[in-house]
Symmetry: C2
Subunit: 232 residues, 2 copies
């Protein structure tokens, strides 16, 4: 007998201070949320971790793979209720809202989604649980895939449009309200009264509320359309 387990356990635990993939993912996520996709470079990330730039490549094959990890990490934040508890309709409603707010917390998501559709474990369970909700509505087979796809497409498209607008304002150094009035002014020069009115609606009143209302209105349309499909 050379050692008690206790000291031995201490020895087995990382003796040399070392980078971990979890650590990298966590820090990368923070940078991404704070500075956007353009603000994430391997060198800056390494600096933030206090390591050499190329050390990261031992833990992660490539930057794109790191982003895949980040996407799946974030999918894990989405709540999908059990259909037994919520019923298919309010369950899907909650799911859509949870997906939306996850995207709002991580505004870089839509941009990368259209380059690298994630197939990680969290994306998988999201699919499973989503299909369970749709199945509770009585839709099965191919149509279940389609119906779930419709909800996800809408949420991604809608939330994506919102983050894009906010990003545009940020880039121009304006608040969204300032951007809205700027757009309104630019429509004044055109003779297009339809767009003028639309722009005026956006420029006057609470924009955050309008984004939210737009989302719930569209979600209602989608859910109502699915409900109509069931009855027939």
């Amino acid at each position: 007998m050379t050692e008690s387990i206790w000291t031995r356990k201490l020895k087995t635990s990382p003796a040399r201070e070392t980078l971990t993939r979890e650590q990298i993912v966590r820090t990368a996520l923070e940078t991404l949320d704070a500075e956007g996709l353009a603000g994430l470079s391997m060198r800056k990330l390494a600096a933030k971790l206090g390591s050499g730039a190329t050390s990261l490549y031992w833990h992660v094959p490539t930057k794109d793979d790191l982003i895949d990890l980040l996407i799946d990490e974030v999918w894990g934040e989405i709540d999908i209720p059990e259909p037994e508890l919520a019923g298919w309709r309010s369950g899907t409603l909650l799911y859509a809202h949870s997906m939306r707010s996850t995207i709002m917390r991580h505004p870089w998501l839509p941009e990368v989604m259209y380059t690298r559709p994630s197939m990680g474990p969290n994306a998988m369970t999201m699919g499973t649980r989503g299909l369970a909700l749709i199945a509770a509505a009585g839709i099965t087979g191919r149509n279940a895939d389609f119906a779930l796809g419709t909800v996800m497409s809408f949420v991604l498209g809608s939330a994506g449009g919102e983050v894009a607008t906010r990003e545009m304002a940020r880039r121009a150094g304006q608040s969204i309200d300032q951007l809205a009035t700027a757009v309104l002014e630019s429509t004044q020069h055109l003779g297009d009264t339809t767009m003028q009115e639309s722009a005026r609606r956006r420029a006057t009143g609470d924009i955050d509320g309008m984004f939210y209302d737009s989302f719930t209105y569209g979600l209602e349309i989608v859910l109502e359309g699915i409900a109509a499909r069931i009855k027939n």
Copy 2:
């Protein structure tokens, strides 16, 4: 009197061979369609035009601005029928299909859309004509903006998902069918029968057709949802 208009006109036309913005936009669009967003660099574009790299910057302030021009250029390809001719429902259907096929022709579109929402002239008229369709359905004011936004969000999300999947296969050097069977195999290891069946549906049978069916199914849901909104 110094010159006849005829010779004068010839003189006024570009005497020195010179780059034009239209030319740049056209060539950039070709490269983008052929090689994707990552394949477009200012140097390569200039080389393709037979000019020095920084010459482009006289005609276009920055690469991002060039992409804005390209986005609006492409919006111009979308057909939006007059509501008087098609009625709101089939008019919106045609519009959505036209938007989808435009995105499929220019697969880089979704990716850039979520960074730079376009506000160019073509985007404007697209908005006007879209709102006209919705107005024909009897929806006005805020709700018209919302309803149109729902359709566009769905189309963008759905078509975006499709191009992302195709892009993923391309990157892996596989056909979409090969990708689908690869995904099916990867689900075999998991005990998740729901996703297994879903993956099997995708792996067996015509994938192009399935993408199309998925789109029309979702579009039907959206239109039905809007129709339900009108009746009440």
